[in-house]
């Protein structure tokens, strides 16, 4: 554009991509595999059941922040399973696909919003990357702050957040979770993070890796329970040398490291944290170990006294709330005993068929072809 006609700069909007209206409903993606249904129906379902049964306040709604994808499968699943247990479902989703061709999401949104117990007025999907929550002054952050504390944070990441370099990446997932904890700090009821992320050597930034090792070692040194469990269940050498450890051990060490990273946020917001569900599977077929972690972190706000900084009140000089050692000592056991979902479904025909069947039913709600899905699943296990 020449200098003379600069008044026409930015005058025209970009038309959305003219791609196929909707992807063919007999073609399936990796996240449609029955193992994902296992995560939903075992890990997530148990957690939601517990959360809804342990709400203290009178608000019976289910509030959800997540990355729902164009088919909104997780939301459909939660609605189907728990609509009799909540008064209303409110959700806030983030999906950058909205800013491009978004007719698939538009159809899914209309389907979901027309359900009786979906608060369509207060539910939406925003065309932002989840990582935009890292910025205090982003539109995404303010939307999340306005939406308020939630019951469920579903961080079902396509990639992984270990890829971000700590303190460097402008829109890092680390910082996004910092915002999530700041928002959740206002919450009185238990809540959870459903984290799904890649854990393998190629997908974790070296600086992140070093930091994770550091915080694992810290507990090895200062928490006897953690040390015992780590030596017993993860690596009896106690060396924590990532260059020499096997892929399995690497997966466990990094998973424990990230879990400890979340636990420290829990302590900051005066909450107890437990790993209430965990599973793993393999995404990269060439990998010699599982490389995908699906974990449920449960947070329970605890009573916390405060000491008087001015010294007028009698201070108790005791540490209020749960201690880091108490929270993390069970992590080595939980992570190292994460079931390999691929293996389970391979070995257990009954379980596999159930997952295929329930997953097919769920996909049908999103207009996928039932029979094509079953055929596709069979091909996966042949």
């Amino acid at each position: 554009m020449s200098e003379e006609n600069s008044f026409s700069k930015g005058l025209f909007a970009e038309f959305p991509e003219d791609v196929a209206p909707l992807a063919a409903r007999d073609q399936f993606k990796p996240w449609h595999k029955p193992r994902k249904q296992y995560v939903r129906s075992v890990l997530w379902r148990n957690e939601l059941e517990w959360l809804l049964g342990n709400k203290k306040n009178t608000d019976r709604s289910l509030k959800y922040i997540g990355l729902p994808g164009e088919d909104l499968l997780d939301l459909r699943y939660f609605y189907e399973q728990f609509s009799s247990s909540f008064s209303m479902l409110r959700f806030l989703g983030f999906d950058t696909a909205l800013s491009r061709e978004s007719s698939a999401i538009s159809v899914s949104l209309q389907e979901i919003k027309s359900l009786d117990k979906v608060d369509s007025s207060n539910s939406d999907i925003r065309a932002d990357n989840f990582s935009k929550l890292s910025q205090e002054n982003s539109v995404a952050t303010l939307a999340a702050r306005d939406f308020g504390p939630v019951d469920v944070v579903n961080a079902d990441l396509c990639g992984n957040f270990g890829n971000d370099t700590p303190d460097v990446a402008a829109d890092s997932l680390y910082s996004a979770f910092r915002t999530i904890f700041a928002i959740q700090n206002r919450r009185a009821d238990p809540w959870c993070i459903l984290l799904t992320t890649r854990i393998d050597r190629s997908s974790i930034d070296p600086v992140s890796e070093a930091r994770m090792v550091e915080i694992v070692i810290e507990n090895l040194e200062n928490c006897e329970g953690f040390n015992n469990n780590y030596l017993k269940f993860v690596d009896n050498s106690g060396a924590v040398d990532t260059s020499s450890m096997s892929s399995d051990v690497y997966f466990n060490v990094m998973s424990i490291g990230y879990s400890k990273w979340f636990a420290r946020f829990a302590l900051k917001i005066k909450s107890a944290m437990t790993i209430s569900g965990v599973a793993k599977y393999k995404v990269d077929p060439s990998s010699d170990a599982c490389d995908m972690l699906s974990v449920v972190y449960r947070f329970e706000p605890t009573y916390s006294g405060v000491n008087d900084p001015s010294g007028l009140a009698a201070n108790t000089d005791q540490n209020f709330g749960p201690s880091e050692c108490k929270i993390v000592k069970g992590f080595p056991y939980a992570i190292s005993h994460a079931p390999d979902v691929d293996e389970m479904l391979n070995d257990n025909l009954l379980l596999r068929n159930e997952m295929i069947s329930t997953s097919a039913d769920l996909l049908v709600q999103a207009r996928y072809d039932h029979d094509a899905y079953v055929t596709w699943c069979k091909s996966l296990f042949s």
């Binding site: 038309f15 909205l98 978004s102 159809v107 209309q110 919003k113 369509s120 539109v139 303010l142 207009r367």
Partner: protein, 657 residues
């Protein structure tokens, strides 16, 4: 009758004219409109982005929706969705709309056939609502916002949804000049498909407006305002009222990074909290412009206090057929301290007394929900809208007269015996005018015309060109007219103005002007009466005070000598007494003074008459007080007059200070 005329085609007409001979009968044919004119109109006839949303709301209303939800990603405005739970559009309706841009299927037999109108009355929705929108225009009103949008729609019982991506072409006269006269105008392209639906019973329509025109986004973002604020902050210049950030706003994004807020905007400044229910949040928003105390503004104004987005929300709430934020104007009852009058169809008006349980609606025989819709709500982001018109608890002023005055009436004319070609059909409406010491916000001053509860117009401050200059009182009037039958033909296609020459518009205007004349006259009468009474009360009190001063001075004399306070008589030069003073019953002790001691007086001048009313009791008291002094009555009449005149002049001087 015009309806009986047979149309001639263009070629027939040309041939007929070319071969026209002397003595031939005149050719009679019908007038045709050019479809491309309609295409031009639907390309962008609206002045503001809110108009497009209004038309989509109207369509939802006409589709019997009970709820419309508008979601934006404010303050970025990259995407706006309008969801309704209305009947949805069948493939037939979608096909009709695509092929008849600008041509509404409503209000005609097509509407009945397509199921978008009641099966027996094409002016009603299938659910019996009086139609307010025009489907072919409403849908394409989004051209104001974007050149590309999505439609997702479903009707109950259909096991499919219809989905469309519509790309509109920018209208260009060049396109027209290059096409043949009879070619249909190509207004854009559309991709349509159907997807299976498992929720067979669900129904509704979603319009997803993405690819919003950059300049429309700038408008919605109030970018011009924030740029000016930022420029001023950057230059360290003095701020003026024009470049202050709006008092209430949704914040603003950076020009070069629309996912990030500007720091100058300080995020949002909104009068509600996140924990507020949507209806409560809207109530709080409206209160900021209803009450001068809420903000530091004597005359709160939507335009001055709100950013563009909040102004738009306020407009949508004003335009839509929603319940009132407070009571319906026809629910005003005798319990309110109001003066009520009824304006009759013959132009006469009469005051009415209402009991505390009697409403003006009852008196008129008009529903107290007229102009509003039952079971219809609109939510825009976190605000549930209600009509932002309040007809009681007006802010007070320092003026003496504060009592609100209501004039309301109904009107019907079926123009019996006159052809509908001339009349445009029957007209039926009702309305009210309220005078109050102050109408807030300033945007609510004037008259608002609603057709079947909806409007696209703002309050008209001139009362449709009321011919008499009564600016101050007109600014103290708020009025609404609810059209129940007719007027649709008078409305211009954008529904933001109307044809003043249409018979219905003429009748409404005449009714309104009579109402304005009556309410102003009533206000003058009532405030004048109040003023007069106040003056009389003050005069009576002053007279009492004068009498008491005089009797205090005379008390001793009365006690000692039994002397009475003398009467005072003012004699004119012609020997007659001033006013009603009688000379027949003169007593010896009466003090007689020449009338000129009262000051210059011309009986033809009202000012002199009024001054005399004030001066005479005072001079009278003065003469009585002086009479208590021994020897005063011995003075000659002219000496007495000189002394009293001098004192009166001194008093006047003192009064002037």
């Amino acid at each position: 009758m015009i309806d009986d005329v047979q149309p001639w085609s263009e070629s027939q007409l040309r041939e007929g004219l070319e071969s026209f001979g002397v003595g031939d009968d005149p050719i009679v044919t019908t007038l045709h409109t050019d479809e491309r004119v309609i295409a031009r109109i639907t390309d962008g006839i609206y002045r503001q982005p809110g108009s497009a949303l209004r038309e989509l709301i109207s369509n939802a209303y006409d589709a019997d929706a009970t709820r419309v939800v508008i979601k934006t990603d404010r303050p970025r405005f990259g995407r706006i969705t309008v969801d309704d739970d209305g009947l949805g559009m069948t493939p037939a309706v979608v096909s009709y709309v695509i092929n008849h841009i600008g041509g509404s299927a409503k209000r005609n037999s097509h509407g009945i056939m397509l199921g978008v109108s009641d099966s027996s009355d094409s002016r009603l929705s299938p659910g019996g609502r009086k139609l307010i929108g025009k489907i072919g225009i409403g849908l394409f009103s989004v051209a104001q916002l974007t050149q590309s949008f999505q439609l997702v729609t479903k009707v109950r019982g259909d096991s499919f949804r219809t989905v469309a991506r519509i790309n509109l072409k920018q209208y260009s006269e060049d396109d027209l000049s290059s096409s043949a006269i009879n070619d249909d105008y190509n207004a854009g392209s559309v991709r349509l498909w159907r997807v299976p639906a498992h929720d067979v019973d669900s129904h509704g329509t979603s319009i997803i407006i993405d690819a919003i025109r950059p300049q429309t986004r700038e408008t919605l973002q109030s970018r011009g305002k924030w740029d000016a604020v930022d420029r001023l902050n950057g230059s360290g210049g003095q701020s003026s009222e024009e470049i202050q950030p709006p008092t209430y706003h949704i914040g603003a994004v950076l020009n070069d990074d629309e996912s990030t807020y500007r720091t100058t905007s300080g995020f949002t400044r909104l009068p509600w909290d996140n924990s507020d229910r949507p209806s409560r949040a809207f109530e709080k928003l409206i209160r900021t412009v209803q009450s001068p105390n809420e903000t530091d503004s004597t005359n709160p104004s939507v335009e001055k206090l709100f950013d563009y987005y909040l102004q738009m929300v306020w407009q949508l709430s004003l335009w839509s057929p929603l319940r009132y934020f407070d009571i319906h104007p026809f629910s005003l009852s005798g319990a309110e301290d109001f003066a009520f009058s009824i304006l009759k169809s013959d132009g006469t008006a009469a005051g009415v007394k209402l009991s505390p349980h009697e409403t003006i609606g009852m008196k008129l025989g008009v529903s107290e929900s007229i102009g509003t819709a039952e079971s219809f709500s609109i939510q825009v982001d976190e605000l549930e809208l209600a009509r932002p018109v309040k007809v009681r608890d007006f802010p007070s002023t320092s003026a003496a007269f504060q009592t609100p005055i209501v004039i309301a009436g109904t009107y019907f004319d079926d123009f019996e015996g006159t052809s509908t070609d001339l009349t445009g059909g029957p007209i039926r409406f009702c309305g009210y005018l309220i005078w109050a010491p102050k109408i807030t916000p300033v945007e609510n001053r004037g008259v608002l015309l609603r057709v079947n509860g909806a409007t696209g117009m703002p309050f008209n401050e001139t009362f449709f060109d009321y011919p008499v200059s009564e600016d101050r009182r007109m600014s103290q009037i708020t009025a609404e007219i609810f059209i129940e039958d007719g007027f649709d033909g008078a409305l211009n296609i954008d529904r933001e103005s109307f044809n003043f020459a249409h018979p219905h518009a003429v009748i409404v205007t005449r009714w309104l002007h009579e109402g304005v004349r009556r309410i102003i006259a009533e206000q003058k009468r009532l405030s004048g009466a109040l003023l007069k009474k106040k003056k009389e009360d003050v005069n009576a009190a002053n007279l009492d005070k004068l009498a008491s001063i005089v009797s205090e001075v005379w008390a001793e004399r009365e006690e000692e000598y039994g002397a009475q306070v003398p009467r005072v008589r003012f004699i004119r030069a012609d020997g007659r007494a001033v006013e009603s003073d009688s000379l027949n019953s003169m007593l010896d002790d009466d003090v007689v003074l020449p009338a000129h001691v009262l000051g210059p007086y011309d009986s033809r001048l009202v000012a002199d008459q009024n001054r005399l009313k004030r001066t005479k009791p005072v001079v009278e008291a003065l003469a009585q007080i002086l009479s208590v002094i021994d020897g005063f009555d011995e003075l000659s009449a002219s000496r007495k007059a000189k002394v009293i005149s001098a004192i009166r002049s001194l008093m006047e001087l003192s009064g002037q200070k």
